[in-house]
Subunit: 377 residues, 2 copies
Amino acid sequence: MQAVGMVVEYNPFHNGHHYFLRQAMKQTGANVAVAVMSGNFTQRGEPTIVDKWTRARAALESGVDLVVELPVFYAAQPAHRFAAGALAILNALQVHRVAFGAEHPEWDFAALVAAEQRFNQAEFDQYNATYATQFNQQLHAQTGVELRDPNDILAFAYTKAVLANDYSIQLTPVQRRGSDYHDQQIHGQIASASAIRQAVMAGEDFSATVPPAMKAALDKVATVPSWNSLYPLLRNQLIQAPLDCLAQTYQMAEGLEHRMKEVAQRSLRFDDFIHGVKTKRYTYAHLLRMCLYTTLQLSEDEVAARVDHPYIHILGFTARGREYLHQVKKQVPVPIFTKVSQGMRDGFYNLDYRAGKLYQNFTVVEQDLKHPPIMIR
Amino acid sequence: MQAVGMVVEYNPFHNGHHYFLRQAMKQTGANVAVAVMSGNFTQRGEPTIVDKWTRARAALESGVDLVVELPVFYAAQPAHRFAAGALAILNALQVHRVAFGAEHPEWDFAALVAAEQRFNQAEFDQYNATYATQFNQQLHAQTGVELRDPNDILAFAYTKAVLANDYSIQLTPVQRRGSDYHDQQIHGQIASASAIRQAVMAGEDFSATVPPAMKAALDKVATVPSWNSLYPLLRNQLIQAPLDCLAQTYQMAEGLEHRMKEVAQRSLRFDDFIHGVKTKRYTYAHLLRMCLYTTLQLSEDEVAARVDHPYIHILGFTARGREYLHQVKKQVPVPIFTKVSQGMRDGFYNLDYRAGKLYQNFTVVEQDLKHPPIMIR
């Protein structure tokens, strides 16, 4: 069997994902599609529109053969950690071809990665600019290229992860088509996930853009999960926890805990909070992830203990996916499981479990403990 | 001027409180009424039906001259600490007569307090009985009396505080009349606070039982504040905080943190949680206070730093109350203030401030920072 791996959020699973899947199979000649999918929180640190089980089911019913959870300590991270975590899992699953959506498939990403090695770290010292901005300044000076599009940034990160770890993985860019990532309008059958979420939120028609299984699930969404609803929990943590405790939150740096506490104290609504905290130094994506880390009481130590020990939580599979698993499982060098036991819950899986409990503010469904995998066909 | 002190919750202020106030003035011959009132959380650790400002205003409009906040580290405590904190504040305010509602004004509480000195501490070792039960077993063995009624328990605690601190305070029992504390039905103009809260919750008529100012405020209550609404915050703290951190919560003992975490993980509703946590060892009141301490992330150290340093936060006064304050303020040996500054917020007042922020889940009104006192007439 020949597998192709994909790193996805499926938030929600839509026709563009379906198109990408078929292209990835065709371009790589694969007959098994393996998706590593963010769980209930996205790379931007936001809750997904429907839970991971619903998204995994839609993907499996649309041609994906195996859906594996990207643990939250990889998923809710900047591109380079997100990509590195996902590739570590695909590599462990013996996947040797990974496809990704590309804006510039013609670029020599290996050359860009090599250029980064020559960056001057001392130049990353502008406290009124984001890391990404300073990164692009140096990249442009060296190569004439800037990484602006999220897909370009991820392509760079995948390339870097493969080279750094010497993975036996061939990266295959798939030219994107249809709606631009940033397009917030729905035109025809291919729309961005973001445009579809907006349509669900506004009660507008999105039915042409998603397969039937996803459509049925999205029709049941009464309130789109967002930080607006989780804000009381975040706010309480920022108000009740002492500053020295908040300072130990993962990635809390440069005194950001003071600013977050102060703004939380005076902000009753999440919009006021996030705009009050925003500076030129940090992107909204970074601040949203900080909201998640804070609410999960995630510490530097906990992340350090997890990132070097990945595991593979199977969310679901088709008959073909199961056959693939059966074929490779003896070579998988990390824990692999389809059901979270009480011991896992209190042990290595605890952080994902806690993220699932946080997501339970949007669903009565137990997200992890003893949840069986989805089996299709 | 001759002041009479009262320790109150006014949750809500009702005709029974009004009757008690007039009796207290009459029996003591006082011409100034000083109330030390729980803030936004009661002795049982529950949020009050309306905020402290609304309750203070109703009391001031009904004949109370001065309303002082009972800090939350005294208010949300078992009877002996609640009473001791309240009397420390009244004593600091130079109040020498304190009236309290009594079920058994004929009892010799000083003799009961003396009996407690002879208790055998080694007998408080039954892990399947509450402290109150074991206390009453010993008290009954020594005196033939048991303290069952909340008012008797408080009378005992006031007496003990006066004796232990050698306060120059004369305690004046006021015979209760009208509805029993436990009566959940409204009959006529005097009803228990609990019966009135039930009526507000059920949308039933309670208008005969409260003065007009309180009636107007209660009519605006859409959802009665309760732990049902705060449970997501409590649950998140119990799930996200590590056990060793939860174990440092004030009064967390005998491994209760394990039980609270485990039950929170599986309970989506507060009712399921509190019933799941309940054992013969702890009363509901104790467990509700544990919920509050946990949500406020209150530590043993923080309480220890506060209880020996009371302060007097004036919520409001009449002209007569202001005159009384003016007369005594030079003799008040602790900080006394009418407005919470930013320095107080981040300093000695921080815990009350945090309790106010928790209560902001029920109101948009800023509860403390720069809130002016209520002035009547």
